[in-house]
Amino acid sequence: MTHSPDIAAPAPEAIEEASFLRDTLRAFRKNRMAMVGLVFVTVLVLAAAFAPWISPHDPYRVALDEQLLPSSTTYWLGTDNFGRDVLTRILYGARVSLVVGIVPSLISLSIGTVLGILSGYLGGKTDFAIMRLADMMIAFPSLLLAMVVMYTLGANLLNIFLALALVGWASVARVVRSQTLALREKEFIEAARANGTKRGVIMFRHIFPNVIPTLIVLFSLSIPEAIMWESSLSFLGVGVQPPGASWGLLVAKGKEYMFQAPAVAIAPGIAILLTVLAFNFIGDGLRDALDPSMKD
């Protein structure tokens, strides 16, 4: 029995993909700040997921005889004006921030990718219509646009997703469009066209995979942005509503007690700062690893 060589050896493109992935991972691992960011985010995700098992306190239990206590061995960061443990509230707030960082980014990325590829590949009227719509969305100051959506739909978590997705898709579409324009002129796309491949197949089987590295970078950099916008909305009172625990809301409520217990407002702010920094480090690391030309 003869062995057919292509059973044993992987297809050439598989080798190339594997080495691209390996190169990327190696470049990413060499970036010390990116690795620090990754470790921080991993710990945060675990802490948020297992919050009820980590913290002995109930984030919603009101204890009026234990208001605004300083930090102690029972309450590491003290208690807030309702006698709730500040660290536990921050831990539960991490759930909101992480979900708000990821879900709207995924939505805006999906919308932006589809519209960007359509716009770049089809050109003409489709391109004109999509890009003018994107121009308009980008002209709105992001926070005001999100506030208008929250005003109209009401303040809750689902609407925060919608508001932030609406704010984010346009800039994704612009980047994806310009990449599609460049890819459209490449030989392999021309070859596919000459083969009689359908437009839809070209767009989503040939062009889309080549945009993925950019999408990964955009995704990792839009997470900190979304976390920042959510905390700002919640701080202004149009985001997560009490008694929910969002970091922005915790700062807003804590600021009334800056004199007696500054930790109540300052600690959740540090949580936002560190998380946003960590995601920015990861994003920078991914960008440098995936596409060195985007550096500087």
């Binding site: 709105f140 926070l143 005001l144 208008v148 149009v238 807003a252 920015n280």
Partner: protein, 311 residues
């Protein structure tokens, strides 16, 4: 050049009209009766019906949009429901405060950002460069509301050097301007650095060095002029981020500006006021982009030549 500017202005008009449409649709699909929602349980059915008629809420959506657009073109943005005064008056009265905050903040961001960017580029990969770039990342990653609280706590509550909040003179402007400017200083520093690094690669810089010019001369007389062009245009685009930031800064420091009007309009469910304030802010952003594009062409002869060829 004039043709280019004119064409750019003409292109902005449909964008602005599109924005009024998007905004109008977003604010008018509110589930439930906006008047009843705003007045809560205090109003009788009669009063609600009268206010609805006053606001033409019973007309078809299309009619309402076109009358809103027509009035807006004439500078009439309707009446605030809560304050019962023309929205345009309220905004124009608040705008100078927001403008002053934004200008001071922009100055702060340039004074910190440009020198930091230049030093980082000149001493590339040095400790100084890493320090400034780390600092700028910190500026971008800090929520404005939180850095505002920190500064309030340290400089107003603890050291008692500056007032906590309010708006009664230049002393009240210092903390808000630093908070808002600090957040965009990082962006300016990064841009200045990368733009200067890019320019330093050019041949004419090598020529200047070969001529025997000192490094400071090379940078100040030859490199900076070109490196600062993108920075100048970014300043005009900064309008959008400064306006978003002003909403939060004004809320914390109780500055009676357009940002605070917006937040108040939301909490009192004052739709015409919210609509007017957001439209005004967005028009400013479009104006900022327009200025940026034109400035770019004015400052960079290469772009100018391209424009000439294109038109």
């Amino acid at each position: 050049m004039l043709m280019f500017a004119l064409r750019r202005i003409l292109v902005s008009i449909p964008v602005l009209i599109g924005i009024t449409l998007i905004l109008f649709i977003m604010l008018n699909v509110v589930p439930g009766d906006p008047v009843a929602l705003m007045m809560k349980e205090h109003a009788s059915a009669e009063v609600i019906a009268r206010v609805r008629a006053q606001m033409h809420l019973d007309d078809p959506m299309i009619t309402r949009y076109f009358s809103f657009l027509w009035n807006a073109v004439q500078g009439d943005l309707g009446n605030s429901i809560k304050l019962n005064r023309p929205v345009t008056d309220l905004i124009l009265k608040a705008f100078p405060n927001t403008l002053m905050l934004a200008v001071c903040a922009a100055l702060v961001s340039w004074i910190i950002g440009i020198p930091a960017g230049i030093l980082s580029a000149v001493r590339r990969d040095s400790l100084l460069d890493r320090f400034f770039m780390g600092f700028s990342l910190l500026g971008v990653s800090m929520p404005i509301f939180w850095s505002a609280l920190l500064l309030q706590y340290v400089f107003a509550m603890k050291l008692k050097l500056l007032p906590v909040s309010g708006f009664y003179g230049w002393k009240y402007m210092i903390l808000p301007a630093i908070v808002l400017g600090w957040s965009s200083a990082g962006v300016i520093a990064r841009l200045t650095r990368s733009s200067l690094l890019e320019v330093m690669r050019h041949d004419y810089i090598r020529t200047a060095r070969a001529k025997g010019l000192r490094e400071t001369g090379v940078i100040s007389r030859h490199a900076l002029k070109n490196a600062l062009i993108p920075v100048v245009t970014i300043m005009a685009i900064q309008v959008a981020s400064l306006l978003s930031g002003a909403v939060i800064t004004e809320a914390i420091f109780s500055i009676p500006g357009v940002g605070r009007i917006t937040v108040n309009a939301i909490s009192s469910r004052d739709m015409p006021l919210l609509q007017g304030a957001v439209l005004f802010a967005t028009a400013l952003v479009i104006l900022g982009n327009l200025v940026a594009d034109i400035l770019y062409a004015v400052l960079d002869p290469r772009i100018r030549e391209q424009m000439k060829k294109a038109s």
